[in-house]
């Protein structure tokens, strides 16, 4: 009997851990694109919702019939390292134009349950023409249509827009393309996760205004509200960011995070999420061995920049004051020399310089380095991956 009970508990615990990391990795899970993941989240919806609410103060909404689960992530300090991306091979981040078009299109789509690409483009053109701030949208230009298609494909990816007839891609070539869409207005509204709607904010600091959460009580917060804010703000960083450095926290957060309560909170939450906690003198990070809760892996052989980044770490780790991009060029060139076949994109004259820039971006994104003016400085957690002769290493397999 105890065997049975154990099995049930183990199964639930495994589901919870997996569900937490799936939602962290993708805050919008749809049955259409990830049936297994959605099924798991749907089955454990209540447990997951209370976990996210308790630890991070994030709301989880599961719509069994509409087929999606949405974790409304709120960051107290949103970072720029996870932009919206074009749904193409390049996965290039959205530019100003695409972000703006995304929002205008979303606003116009709220108008009705169905539309066509042509009608939507007309409405977007009208809306931008009528707005004093927004630049006009001209469907006659191919570049504009391309941006528009990227935006529509992103909305399709979120499930807010479903092509019923035709393919969005056709619109790139011809403004006369016929594509019929079904619009999920509820989901569209749910894409907005900020606690405060932008349209109701007074002028001023937009981000702060959008993210202010009354539940924490503001200036006259009670002890309970203050404790809640500390827990949520630290755990949000811990569960969303690759590394949390004590130096980046406020004194109050740092005190909480290194206190007994804070430690226990972090450890328990991480364990429930299936993470390993790595706490060091400079900060703390979570390890997800299965890479469910992450948009990328490092170190990895995914692209040349990541490979180069690993090499750059060795030079960076050796220099306390950091190095300039020029100083790192040599390392990049040696990487290119060593793997002649695999780095064609960096074979042009400015190849090594671009490789350095891309590799540094990888390091910055993973919390292993920061830009300090011209110089690039390694951050403490970078030492996890560097080679230091004579220093201990866990597997005894650190090659030199």
């Amino acid at each position: 009997m105890s065997n049975l009970a154990n099995q049930l508990v183990i199964a639930e615990r495994a589901d919870l851990a997996r569900g937490i990391r799936l939602l962290l990795g993708s805050p919008l899970i749809r049955a259409a694109t990830d049936p297994d993941g959605f099924d798991l989240v749907r089955r454990r919806a209540d447990t997951l919702a209370s976990w996210f609410d308790h630890h991070c103060g994030w709301a989880l909404v599961v719509e069994p019939r509409q087929g999606y689960a949405r974790l409304a992530k709120v960051r107290s300090d949103p970072d720029a390292s996870r932009p919206a991306r074009r749904d193409r091979g390049s996965r290039a981040p959205f530019d100003r134009r695409r972000y703006a078009l995304f929002c205008v299109a979303a606003a116009e789509l709220l108008g009705g349950p169905a539309t066509t690409v042509g009608l939507l483009a007309d409405r977007v053109a009208q809306a931008t023409a009528a707005d004093p701030v927004l630049p006009g949208f001209d469907p006659a230009l191919r570049a504009e249509r391309m941006a528009f298609v990227d935006v529509l494909r992103a909305l399709e990816g979120f499930g807010a827009l479903e092509p019923v007839d035709g393919s969005t891609e056709d619109y790139t070539d011809s403004a006369g393309a016929k594509v019929l869409y079904r619009v999920d207005a509820t989901l569209l509204v749910r894409l907005l996760a900020a606690p405060n709607g932008p349209s109701r904010l007074p002028d001023g600091d937009r981000l702060a205004g959008m993210l202010a959460e009354p539940r924490y009580g503001g200036a006259g917060a009670t002890d309970v509200q203050r404790a809640l804010r500390l827990r949520h703000s630290v755990l949000r960083k811990l569960f969303d960011d690759p590394v949390v450095y004590w130096a980046d926290l406020t004194a109050e957060q740092r005190e909480w995070a290194t206190s007994r309560t804070g430690r226990e909170n972090m450890r328990k939450a991480a364990e429930q999420g299936g993470f390993a906690v790595e706490e060091r003198a400079e900060g703390v990070l979570l390890v997800d061995p299965e890479s469910l809760a992450t948009d990328g892996r490092f170190p990895d052989d995914g692209d040349n920049a990541k490979v180069a980044a690993l090499h750059l770490l060795d030079s960076l780790g050796a220099s306390r004051a950091g190095l300039t991009a020029d100083q790192l060029r040599e390392d990049a060139e040696s990487v290119l020399d060593r793997s002649p076949g695999s780095a064609r994109t960096y074979r042009y004259s400015d190849g090594p310089a671009r490789l350095v820039a891309d590799a540094v971006a990888v390091l910055v994104d993973f919390g292993l380095a920061r830009r300090d003016g011209e110089r690039i400085v390694a951050l403490p957690a970078a030492a996890r991956y560097t080679i230091v002769s004579g220093s201990p290493d866990s597997a005894g397999g650190n090659p030199s």
């Binding site: 959008m210 060091r280 490092f298 030492a383 290493d393 650190n398």
Partner: protein, 505 residues
């Protein structure tokens, strides 16, 4: 009933600029007719029109003109009144001419009233109508079964039945129209108020329909066993129609009406009865209404101004300073960014004290091939690590097997209905353990009013219902490990999946 051609002038009074005054006049005549006042003079008409709340000044000339017009359209008859002496032509016209409602006039007025009532009516599916239909059918069947019964009573019952059927039909039509309007309505307040009542009403109606249908269907069959044609012939005798009436037409209308009744509850050709379709439609509508409400609640909870929010964001994106601000704004407004974490861990993280700086802590194991060749191995790694992997694999396999055994046990235990405890014979020890666990959970729960104890396993996948039939019988389960004795409970074990109940086994 075939559509009849309506005389062209009958409804002319109800359209055009003077419609209101015409209607007021007709109404005065209709009221008078109800009180058996045969005809009205112009002064009577004026008084009554005033009394009915029509306050516009209507000069004598105008009123006479209107009355003349109505007479022209065949809605009023002009009756001469010769009883008095008149001195002037004006007085003659004023007092000699009386007017009375014609048959067409009465029909026109009742048509108008009917139409207005339909406009005002909010649709409903009256359950009482179903009861009434069942009652009348039963009454007819009883009357037919009794040879000496009065034809008049049969006739009255047939008329009543048709009246109820008509209510059901118009009620349904109104209700559909009302629901369509409700769905189109963009006033969330109205929807919200009406919705709960509508859903409850629909659910009640479908339940009632389910209960009444067998009764109605049975009564229909009983009446038909006596012969419908016979019934209608007797009803015709009972109707005692005036000699001018067309008996064939009367019988045809009864037959058509009977056909409709059959269509609703017991179609002759075996097609699904309309009541069945109505029920399915009602079910669908309930779901739709609930979804609609969900959407409205959603729209109201914070983002009735979602479109405005999106537009404002578009402006912010357009005017943001740097590219970084764009991405930060995206992250803040939409929170759709994925988390980012390391995936290389120490094999035994507990060995490192939290106060150790990263530079002095052990390194994680980075693939040697990644450093030298820019690639990650896709095969197993060193012996030491493989041991761990093997152990983990072994454990995972064992856990999988246990899960499979557990699933098999549940399948074995699912009863697919209520059975006696004594019917569980020859269980393997593992399965018996599970049964005991279930019984234990059920017995630990409180019995409901019906004496049924319910319990679920911790993961909610298996449900048991246990009741004691109190017949004193005992169950004895012999297994390899011993014998279980106890009251012979009635047991129902179900596998629950997705909240729905599957009959396992």
């Amino acid at each position: 009933m075939a559509t009849q051609r309506v005389p062209p002038d009958v409804f002319r009074f109800a359209v055009g600029a003077q419609a209101e005054s015409y209607s007021a006049i007709l109404r005065a005549f209709a009221d008078a007719a109800q009180r058996w006042e045969g005809s009205l003079g112009i002064d009577d008409v004026r008084d009554r029109v005033r009394a009915s709340g029509w306050l516009d000044a209507l000069g004598d000339g105008d009123l006479a003109e209107r009355l003349k017009k109505l007479a022209e359209w065949g809605l009023l008859d002009v009756v001469q009144h010769h009883a008095e002496d008149y001195r002037t032509a004006a007085e003659y016209e004023r007092r000699n001419l009386h007017y009375a409602l014609t048959k067409a006039g009465a029909a026109a007025w009742s048509g108008l009233r009917h139409a207005m009532a339909s406009f005002d009516e909010t649709g409903a599916l009256p359950t009482a109508v179903l009861d009434a239909i069942a009652d009348r059918l039963a009454e007819i069947a009883a009357l037919l079964a009794e040879p000496g019964s009065a034809d008049r009573r049969l006739c009255a019952a047939v008329h009543e039945l048709e009246g109820h059927l008509e209510s059901l039909r118009t009620g349904t039509a109104h209700f559909h129209a009302e629901l369509r309007r409700l769905q189109r309505s963009d006033d969330p307040g109205e929807f919200d108020e009406v919705k709960a009542a509508t859903v409850a009403h629909l659910q009640e109606f479908t339940t009632d329909l389910d209960q009444r249908r067998p009764a109605i269907s049975a009564a229909l069959a009983e009446v038909e066993a006596h012969g419908v044609a016979d019934l209608h012939r007797r009803a015709l005798r009972g109707a005692d129609l005036p000699p001018t009436a067309d008996e064939r037409d009367w019988l045809e209308r009864r037959a058509a009406s009977w056909g409709t009744l059959r269509d609703w509850f017991r179609p002759a050709d075996g097609s699904p009865p309309r009541a069945e379709l109505l029920r399915a439609a009602a079910r669908g509508i309930v779901g739709e209404l609930l979804r609609e409400l969900e959407r409205i609640t959603e729209a109201r909870s914070g983002s009735s101004s979602a479109a405005a929010d999106f537009r404002e964001l578009a402006r912010w994106f357009t005017t943001a300073d740097r590219d970084e601000d764009l991405h930060r704004l995206w992250s803040a407004a939409f929170g759709l960014g994925p988390a980012r974490h390391a995936h290389l861990a120490h094999e035994d993280p507990e060995l490192v004290a939290p106060a150790t700086p990263w530079t002095r802590a052990p390194r994680v194991r980075v693939s040697a091939l990644l450093r030298s060749g820019g690639r990650v191995e896709r095969f197993g790694s060193t012996g030491k690590v493989r041991d761990v992997a093997q152990l983990a694999a072994l454990r995972a396999a064992r856990a999988r097997q246990e899960r499979a055994e557990l699933d098999a046990a549940w399948q074995r235990l699912a009863t697919g209905g209520e059975v006696r405890l004594s019917s569980f014979t020859g269980l393997e020890p593992g399965v018996l353990d599970r049964l005991l666990d279930l019984l234990g959970r059920a017995l630990a729960s409180r019995a409901d009013d019906a004496g049924v104890r319910r319990a679920r396993t911790g993961d909610g996948r298996v449900e048991i219902e246990l009741s004691d039939p109190a017949d004193g019988r005992t169950a004895e389960l012999r297994t390899e490990r011993g014998t279980l004795c106890g009251p012979d409970f009635a047991v129902h074990v179900r596998l629950v999946a997705d909240g729905a109940v599957e009959a396992g086994g």
